[in-house]
């Protein structure tokens, strides 16, 4: 369960960008099918880590990224969404892979509380 330390690394990047912890509403990330990170576990860990580090309880929205596969039997190209997938054309497992190892924090939504004139 290294998703907690992955979430902490994400929040570390956010703190660098924002100059410290600020309440977040949401965050988006890209997670590749070969990144070794479980999207569900990361979605669970992110608000927990955020709250502990002073970022509120933002939801993390994850876009999963497949690997690009080329079948070594029939040369068909396909998107590999999990490692058990076989070639949709010929059923072969043999393939050459590219990508799918993304683990990237894309953006965050920061809660802004505008200063309003104090009305007694």
């Amino acid at each position: 369960m290294h998703e907690l330390s992955v979430a902490e690394s994400m929040l570390d990047l956010v703190a660098d960008r924002l100059g410290g912890p600020r309440p977040l509403v949401a965050a988006t990330a890209r997670v590749g099918v070969l990144s070794g990170v479980d999207p569900q576990a990361l979605e669970f860990a992110f608000p927990e880590a955020a709250e502990a580090l002073g970022f509120g309880r933002p939801a993390l929205e994850i876009r999963t990224v497949p690997a690009r596969a080329v079948c070594r039997a029939c040369a068909a190209a396909y998107a590999m969404h999990d490692a058990f997938a076989v070639c949709p054309q010929c059923g072969a497992l043999e393939r050459t892979l590219e990508g799918g190892d993304d683990l990237c924090l894309e953006s965050v939504e920061v809660e802004e509380i505008p200063h309003e004139p104090h009305v007694p």
Partner: protein, 224 residues
């Protein structure tokens, strides 16, 4: 009444970029010392420490080891008893080594006369260590026969990234329904270049080939 508005801020950075930067520093220090490093990853109980004891008996002071564990110094003690220069890293609960763990002990393990080969025994775990670069020149995945021949596609990340697949406890093959071809084939479906070594630390089977392969990589690096 105060109203909440939202401000979208783009980050667009690899999540582990800080770890990656430390890993790059570790690599520079390894190269300066002339040491070739292997990040050894496998489940608990697959035989990492035993394999390293056997390698240590063959390679003597050409080998040094960084050994990661959640807790206890037992593995380093075992390796020291086998005559291997070993430095223990206790991760204090973390299920993987990070580049900083290695950076922190690198001077100690390289010493005045750096080894040709530095084996980094990661925390026993087939999932988490795969995500964290350590600065090593290659990753080696190890799978022991009792774990079963269906593990490669269940844990694709580590087998995707490894230059070498070590099948350990191969002396148990006659007693098990373990299909070596299946493992090799599934590993190739993730990683065409991965080279398989079937070894037994107990009988010594396959150890010559693995040892020779590792020393070739050291020599290659030295002339690069």
């Amino acid at each position: 009444m105060s109203r909440t508005s939202r401000d979208q801020v783009s980050i667009d950075q690899p999540v582990l970029s800080k770890n990656d930067r430390i890993a790059a520093e570790v690599r520079k220090r390894l190269d300066a010392a002339g040491a070739y490093a292997v990040n050894l990853i496998s489940s608990p109980g697959s035989g990492k420490t035993t394999l390293l004891e056997v390698l240590g008996r063959r390679l003597g002071d050409r080998l040094a080891v960084v050994v990661g564990d959640v807790q206890t110094r037992r593995d380093a003690e075992r390796l020291s008893e086998a005559g291997v220069r070993a430095v223990q890293v206790e991760t204090g609960g973390a299920c993987h080594l990070s580049a900083k763990n290695v950076a922190d002990v690198l001077d100690e393990v390289l010493g005045d006369r750096p080894p040709e080969l530095l084996m980094i025994e990661n925390v026993g775990n087939l999932v988490c260590p795969a995500s964290f670069k350590l600065g090593a020149h290659m990753k080696a995945a190890m799978l022991s026969l009792p774990e079963g021949d269906d593990k490669v596609l269940k844990y694709p990340s580590i087998f995707r990234q490894s230059r070498v697949l070590v099948l350990s406890k191969i002396d148990l093959l006659p007693h098990m329904d373990f299909n070596v071809d299946r493992v090799v084939r599934e590993c190739a479906s993730l990683n065409e270049g991965c080279q398989t070594f079937c070894v037994s630390a107990r009988t010594g089977e396959g150890m010559d080939a693995l040892c020779a392969f590792l020393l070739e990589r050291c020599a290659e690096r030295a002339t690069a």
